[in-house]
Every structure is written in C-alpha cells, then in structure tokens.
C-alpha cells in the first residue's frame, strides 16, 4: 500500500488529512462516526482567552456549493478548552492542534502561551485570518507588517510548532506568507474563508448581523488551489492547503501544487465521516496511479 506519511520537518504525520478548525467541533462530536486515530491530525475550533457567546443567528447561509458562516468564534474560553483537550486526549492518540485566536496581539500571544504549555497539544495554529471577529471582515493576515509583528511576538512565547493560517482576503497573500515564515512560522496553512455577502430582499438587510461572512466549501476550491500554489512557490516552510476539499482527488490536487498536508472543512458537516473516507480515497487513488509516496507528486505540477 502507498505510504501516506508526511514529514513536516518538525513532526511526522501518519497521513496528510487534518480536520479544519471550526468544522470539527472539539473532536468529540465525531467520535460516534469514526476512530479519530485515522486522521493525520485534528484542529480544534478557534479559541480566545475568555468565553465568547458568538454572533446572533443566523450564523449560516447556504449558497450554491458553498457555505457562508458568521459563527463569531463562539467558544468556552481557554480555561475550559484545556479540560476538553485532556478529555479528548484520553480517548485518542491523534495529534491535537489548537487554533489560537485573539482580539489583539497580546491576546494571541497569551492564548498561544497557555496551550504551548499543555502537554496534550501537538501544535498551534495561529488564526490571524478569521473574517468574523471584526465588522467588515478585517484581520491581521490582511497586512504583511502586522503579520510579521504578531508572529514574532507569539513565537517568542511558545515552544510548540507554530502554523500560521492565512487569509485569501489579503491584497497580496504571498507577501503575507513570506512575512509569516520570515518571522518564525514553522508552517503555513491556507485558505481561511473568503469574504462574501448575502442579503435579504424582504428585510433589505444583510443576512448576517456582521454584514460580511466567510465563504467555504466546494465553491471556493478552484480559487483556494490557485492561492495555495502561489504560496507554495515561495514558501520554504511546509504549507497545509485547504478550501473545498470533499474527496481524495481534491486532497491530492493540493499536494500536487505543493502542499505538504491538507485540511478538510465544510464537508465534515455534510458527511461526518468525510475525513476518514478521504484518507482511504487518497490511498486508493495513489495505488491506482502507482504513486508510492506523496513526495513523488508533491509540488510536481508541470506548468
């Protein structure tokens, strides 16, 4: 059988399939569906220092082959999450990645430091790209300078590998990617959701209180794949690609353009066992195409 393992430099994963933040809850919601050890890793829902209620409903709006969300990073806060992580870790050996959020740079660093100190956590993913915190969708990942400052500040406070998650809404995502890696990011992940808008003609208001929301799902895959390729061409740290992946073929597309691993998001809602299915589909597809090892195709797009 094909070798699905992935060497990130700082860590090896048994396969490239990671569940994406905010789409896999706190892991335990998926225990009824499959053994989480099947995954390469999982990323928990984004966490702030304190508990947050999240945005008022509606929080979701379906579009053709896409999903707009404005969850607003509802969550129990970092103290409660530590408990959840311990509980989860007792039930699975899958590497756990904490998605670190903050309203300001100090909070990012604070939250990162907390989870850097937690034995059960394998890595941190710095979510500097959530469009649902500030009105209008602004986030640190829209600016290379801010990203550099923030990553450095966080990096100083943590000892775990740090993945920096990028926004497709940046004017120049490649510049932001470079800023992040030059400032110490151990890996990059992209894309977070695209800023989108839905309106309600009846009320003449935006569907979401926050006006804009983040678009994810199969609709964005061609756009995400392009951005991941652009970032991979300049990145010297591993890149984790995502955006609209629904099957093994989709995942391999991201690896072909240079991603080391992938994250699987919205499809988890449609099909709770999707991530496990994608792991086997990747293996089957590799066997079919006689690919022994992911390195054989990683970044091998001829263009």
């Amino acid at each position: 059988m094909a070798d699905l393992s992935v060497d990130l430099g700082f860590r090896t994963l048994k396969n490239p399939v990671i569940t994406a933040s905010g789409t896999f809850g706190y892991g335990e919601e998926f225990l009824p569906f499959f053994d989480l050890d099947i995954l390469g890793a999982l990323v928990l829902k984004g966490i702030f220092l304190e508990p947050r209620p999240g945005n008022p409903p509606p929080r979701l709006h379906e579009t053709p082959a896409g999903l707009l969300n404005s969850i607003g990073l509802a969550g129990p806060g970092s103290a409660a999450l530590q408990e959840i992580i311990r509980r989860l870790h007792a039930r699975t050996a899958v590497p756990i990645i904490v998605n670190v959020c903050g309203e300001n740079d100090e909070e990012f660093a604070e939250v990162a430091a907390i989870f850097s100190g937690l034995e059960e956590v394998a890595m941190l993913e710095l979510n500097i790209s959530c469009p649902n915190v500030r009105k209008g969708g602004a986030c640190p990942a829209q600016d290379a300078g801010h990203t550099a400052r923030l990553v450095r500040q966080v990096k100083d406070r943590v000892r775990k590998p740090l993945i920096v998650k990028l926004s497709p809404n940046a004017a120049d995502i490649v510049a932001v990617a470079q800023a992040a890696q030059d400032s110490g990011a151990d890996a990059l992940s992209l894309v977070n959701t695209f800023l989108g808008l839905a309106v309600d003609l009846e009320t003449r208001r935006p569907v979401f209180a926050n006006v804009y929301a983040g678009l994810s799902g199969p609709a964005i895959k061609p756009l995400a794949l392009r951005l991941v390729r652009e970032v991979c061409r300049r990145a010297y740290v591993p890149v984790i690609g995502m955006g609209g992946i629904t099957c093994g073929r989709d995942a391999l597309d991201f690896i072909l353009v240079g991603a080391s691993a992938v994250q699987v998001g919205t499809v988890n809602f449609r099909d709770p066992a999707a991530a496990a299915r994608i792991v086997s589909e990747i293996a089957l597809e590799m066997d079919r195409l006689n690919i022994k090892d992911l390195a054989e195709i990683r970044g091998k797009l001829q263009a």
Partner: protein, 256 residues
C-alpha cells in the same frame, strides 16, 4: 446516532406541497423517540451542499416516516424521491419530549410542527389522555388530519386561519379557553416562531410545564458547527441540534 442509508418504501404527495415518506431505516427506527430528527442528504452533488433537518413523524421498526413541506431546493429534491430510491440519513438526533406519565398534556402544533407531536401521541397516547390543538393557514396546510384521526386522543381541536377546516382563526386565539377547560399540567408545542413566541406570552405565569421544539438553520445537526444557536433569556446561546430541539418555552429569547 447512526449514519444510515434509508430505502424509500413509499412516497406520497399529500397536496399543498406536503409529502410523506415511509423509509426502511432499521437502525434509526430502533432508537427513535418523539422529538428526534434526522439530517437527510438531499443530493449526491454539491448543491444543495448541506443536509436538511427533518423531524421523525413516526417510527415502527424497520420503518420511519418523514412528513415535510416543500420550501426550497432541498425539500424540492426530496419530493422527487420514489419507491426504491435511497436516502442518506443521520439520526436519531437531538433530545426528545419527555414522556411525563400521570400528567395531563396539551399538544400544540402549527403547520408542519405537527411532526414531533404526532410522534408523541402515537408513542404515548394509548397510555393516557392527550389533547391536541392543531392549526394552519387552511385546509391544504393540514393534510395530516386523516392520519391524526388514527391516533388515540382525548380531544382534538382544529383551527384554520381561513376557516376552511375546523374553527376559523389562529390556534393561539383558542388557547386560553382550551387551557381553562382542559386544565393541562404541561404543554408540548412545535410550529412557526411567531406562534411559539405568542404561546410563550399566553402561557406565562400559569404554572404549567411548557416545552417547545424549535427550528434553526443547521450546518451539521450533531453539535459541531455552532450554526444552530438560539439566544436564551439568560443571554447565552443554546444549540438547537444537540441541546434541543426541545427547550422550556420560557428559556428562549423570542425575537418577535
């Protein structure tokens, strides 16, 4: 909770855009209780992307029944299912209405909100007297009435806004009198948000145990996406899919 491929045994159009499906889904049927729902995958393609939540009208292993109204593209696709087709279902999901033995229970159903209450009456109606209040816009909105007559009910009150069936008016118009006469200990309700909000006002301070089953847009149906949150009077949000869909009526912060 099961991820089960159901087989359509019977598909019936009831008129007025309402449909009834009888589905062989033995694992879900074996576990279902009144108030539970399923998430149904409406298309093998990526539009519609998400599953749709549907209450379970009745469960008699190996079958479950779904009853739904065509609203948009998801329910339209479901209405095209025929005998022999299959349908991916996740369920049973959510909490359920408690049995409450020895209590006098009033069931209040608006439109397609009949689903969990029908289930309740089917499951528990033979063991003690139940009263059902069922309302809709008009006759075409109440196509389940024939089937309801097969339930064991102590009394049935029917309301229609246009007077085409039962008493003319909103069911909330008749509520006060019915509560006075029937003296229930508890009410179980399901229906449009405006109806539930009005019920909350009418039933307040009467010392009844009022439980309502809510709807919300759902991303996953099993607690992972936090998309189905509803505000409560305490200011906190609750997830309809796994903390509900049944909540104390008083706990919800009604928007209307």
């Amino acid at each position: 909770m099961q991820d089960e491929r159901g087989l359509i045994e019977e598909a019936r159009a009831l008129g007025g855009g309402y449909f009834l499906l009888k589905i062989a889904a033995p694992l879900i049927a074996a576990a279902v209780r009144p108030g539970h729902f399923v998430m149904a995958r409406v298309s093998p393609a990526m539009d519609p992307l998400l599953r749709r939540p549907l209450g379970i009208l009745e469960g008699r292993p190996p079958y479950i029944w779904l009853y739904f109204q065509v609203l948009g593209s998801g329910t339209r696709l479901l209405s095209g299912l025929r005998h022999g087709d299959s349908l991916d279902l996740l369920g049973p999901l959510g909490n359920s209405f408690p049995e409450m033995p020895d209590k006098r229970v009033l069931l209040i159903a608006g439109g397609r909100g009949i689903v969990p209450l029908f289930h309740y009456a089917r499951a528990y109606g033979e063991r003690r007297p139940l009263v059902l209040l069922y309302g809709g816009r008009g006759k075409a909105d109440l196509p389940l009435l024939e089937r309801i007559k097969s339930l064991t009910l102590q009394r049935l009150f029917v309301f229609s806004e246009d007077g085409s069936l039962g008493q003319k008016g909103l069911l909330t118009d008749g509520l006060e009198k019915i509560v006075r006469e029937e003296r229930p200990d508890a009410t179980l309700s399901c229906g449009p948000e405006a109806m539930l909000a009005r019920l909350a006002g009418l039933l307040k301070g009467r010392g009844l145990n009022n439980l309502a089953s809510l709807e919300a847009r759902m991303g996953c149906g099993f607690g992972a996406c936090h998309g189905c949150a509803v505000p409560t009077v305490s200011g906190a949000f609750r997830k309809v899919c796994d903390e509900g869909p049944v909540f104390p009526l008083e706990e919800i912060q009604w928007r209307t």
